[in-house]
């Protein structure tokens, strides 16, 4: 393996040098006479934020370097022949679209063949989802026949959330397997990729985890298509840069990764943090911690940026994206308590710190903007020229436009440079250019994507700032199922959710126009995003606009232009899925076959402890078919009661 330290030192030197240069320039602008306290705060914030965007920029530059020199980014021994290892593919689900889950499992099974065992690990709390999953599992088993090893397990208590779900699998069936591949409910992986990952694990016994970076694909709304395009064009150079710098100190993104089961079981039991959520309790963002624990135990964690055949779906709308970010934000901020835990390697700490910073940077940007605007407003005018000669020192009005223009130019290069480099990198490959809609389509898509990202940035900044503040105030989020289906958002809903952003935008416009008119134009891109928040969120959620963009060859990605068997198969299966018209949980009471299936699956589960009086009442009402007023909890209790259900026979 090549020595990784010089690259890391070069990277840190470049980030540091660009930050020092920018901060020196900024200090020159601010230091007309002595620094005020406000100017020191501005300078400190500027240093942190500039270092943050410089880190991202140089990562992209390293990525382009790795791609252009065709560097081997996964220096592992190649697979040698067929594998005798046993591998389980795990799909943890939590109140997900049942058709989507089982279509995905079937598409992967058809692509991978019978060498893998599949586990659908359900934590669904919605009784309709629970029973529908059982029926779909039964249907899939009967259609695929004996050769398909597809298993289903439901937990009534969701201890530890997703990490607890995986831990439950490991503790009960982990010993049966050498490796496990973790998927998300919207993940897809090709059989070729899965077999390759297993071969790599066989050939490299020190490796505990290989992350196959998922490419965003499969959704049709305009917002999702923009995300997919961004991930396809900009993602590869960032992934290459990361792989180049992290080497065996890689990270885990929670899904689309293969894991050595005994290493995971040995090293990745997660503790419950002392105190209450959001900072205490169960660890929410478990993936970074699990990678850090594997590294602490001496195992290698790799990323395979060129492996391909690994997909996930983006959130269909900005609203869904931000809802997901609330959970991720809380999970990442919780890492503040772990980043200094004893024994972790320095790269693991950096992964955790960068995860924290990806959300904390938003309130820091906001603070920087607010304080520097106040500073601009309070600049005193130079004394009238007629006083010259009468004062002890000569007051000269000094222009800092040149230095400021250099700083703004440097910031723009750091922000947009990675996009330009990524587009240039794609343009250098004729096949990749065609796959993204040709030269015209690629450049137009990159332009519109950049414009959209610029307009949305202040909205996301405000939202992330609120998330960070609310978490610091101790407000924790629950565990909600993600919305993964395309839908045009109604104007009323979006207006309610994004009205504060628009009002803040209008108030900022008034204040800047009134008190800092000379600098007003600099703020226009930020203000425009806030003014247009509601229409942009509504329009970008539209599947119709997404289809129109596709017809105009905008935001095309290789899995659309070249096609992907596993993606199209999963979509075809999901579209042909027939939804039952009746409340599915009712079938357990009304259809003896459904009840017998449910009881067979329940046989292995621990009984749910509850109030016997309440259970007795529910049993009686169920026997009389008086279930119309049953709550979700009532149904869960009833469906967990094997004795009562047997009595209905």
């Amino acid at each position: 393996m090549p020595d990784i330290a010089p690259r890391r030192w070069l990277y840190f030197f470049l980030v540091l040098a660009s930050t020092v240069a920018a901060v020196t320039q900024m200090a020159g602008v601010l230091q007309v006479d002595d620094f005020t306290f406000r100017e020191i705060v501005i300078l400190a914030l500027f240093a942190i934020l500039f270092a943050w965007i410089a880190a991202s920029f140089w990562l992209a530059v390293f990525g382009v370097w790795a791609r252009s020199t065709k560097m081997d980014l996964l220096p592992l021994k190649p697979p040698s022949g067929p594998s005798a290892a046993r591998t389980a593919i795990l799909m943890p689900v939590y109140n997900e679209d049942v058709a989507r889950v089982f279509s995905g499992v079937r598409a992967i099974w058809e692509s991978a063949g019978p060498d893998f065992d599949f586990y659908i690990l359900s934590d669904s709390t919605n009784p309709a989802n629970w029973v529908a999953e059982e029926l779909e599992w039964q249907k899939l088993k009967s259609e695929l026949g004996e050769t398909a090893h597809i298993f289903y397990r439901h937990r009534t208590r969701n201890t530890g959330r997703k990490a607890g779900n995986i831990q439950d699998f490991c503790e009960n069936w982990g010993q049966l397997y050498d490796y496990m591949v973790i998927l998300d409910a919207d993940s897809l992986m090709t059989g070729k990729t899965l077999h390759h990952l297993v071969g790599l694990m066989d050939a490299n016994p020190r490796t505990a985890l290989i992350q196959a970076p998922p490419q965003l694909a499969g959704r049709g709304s305009l917002f999702a298509r923009i995300q997919q395009f961004g991930s396809s064009v900009y993602g590869p150079i960032h992934a290459a840069g990361l792989a180049l710098l992290q080497g065996p100190d890689g990270n885990y993104w929670g899904h689309n990764a293969i894991i050595r089961v005994h290493a995971f079981m040995q090293s990745c039991g997660l503790p419950c943090l002392p105190g209450r959520p959001p900072f205490g309790g169960e660890i929410m963002s478990h993936d970074f911690i699990e990678a850090a624990l594997l590294r602490r135990a001496g195992w290698d964690v790799w990323m395979a940026p060129d492996i391909g055949g690994s997909f996930e779906e983006p959130p269909p709308t900005l609203l869904d994206y931000l809802i997901r970010d609330r959970r991720w934000c809380q999970g990442n901020l919780q890492h503040v308590r772990i980043v200094f835990a004893q024994g972790l390697t320095l790269p693991s700490r950096l992964h955790l710190a960068m995860g924290i910073m990806s959300y904390v940077s938003a309130p820091l940007w906001l603070l920087f903007l607010v304080i520097s605007t106040i500073d601009m407003m309070s600049v005193k005018a130079a004394p009238p020229a007629s006083y010259i000669g009468l004062l002890p020192s000569l007051p000269l009005s000094v222009s800092h436009s040149a230095e400021l223009m250099i700083l703004v130019g440097a910031t723009l290069i750091l922000l947009y440079g990675p996009k330009v480099l990524a587009v240039a990198s794609v343009l250098g490959n004729a096949d990749a250019t065609r796959a993204h809609g040709g030269i015209g389509g690629l450049i137009a898509s990159a332009f519109w994507e950049s414009l959209f990202a610029t307009l949305m940035a202040p909205v996301v900044m405000l939202q992330h700032s609120w998330y960070v503040c609310s978490i610091l105030m101790g407000i924790a989020t629950g565990w909600h199922a993600q919305t993964r289906t395309d839908r045009a958002l109604p104007w009323g809903l979006v207006a309610r959710r994004f009205l504060p952003h628009m009002l803040i935008g209008l108030a900022a416009t008034f204040l800047l126009w009134r008190y800092a008119q000379g600098s007003f134009n600099w703020f226009l891109p930020l203000l425009a995003g806030l003014w247009l928040a509601v229409p942009l969120v509504v329009l970008s959620s539209s599947p119709l606009l997404g289809r129109m963009a596709r017809q105009d060859r905008l935001f095309l990605i290789p899995s659309e232009t070249r096609g992907s068997k596993v993606l199209s198969r999963a979509h075809a299966l999901a579209e042909s899925h027939r939804t039952l018209a009746v409340p599915v949980q009712q079938l357990v009471l009304e259809d003896s076959r459904v009840r017998d299936l449910h009881l067979a699956l329940l046989a292995d589960s621990p009984p749910l402890v509850s109030d016997p009086e309440r259970l007795g009442r529910l049993r009686m009402q169920a026997a009389r078919s008086q279930t119309a007023h049953f709550s979700r909890d009532d149904w869960t209790l009833l469906l967990s009661d094997s004795e009562g259900l047997k009595a209905l026979r």
Binding site: A5, R153, L176, C268, G269, L270, L273, A341, E590
Partner: protein, 64 residues
Amino acid sequence: MDSEPRAFEAAFVLEAGTPLRCPRPMIPQLLVPWTPARLIAAGLMGMLSVPAQLVPAVLNRRRA
């Protein structure tokens, strides 16, 4: 009750959803945060020891 429409026409295969369990617990790992004093000491140690990572690369280059 059983006269209601059937959910699926195919015959149901009644079997357990999973293979037999072979339980083995996972032990929760210790994640003990550093105290400020330890943190400062570790920072100083890091500043001294991390540049040493470069030594093998420098030596290799000289030999080459």
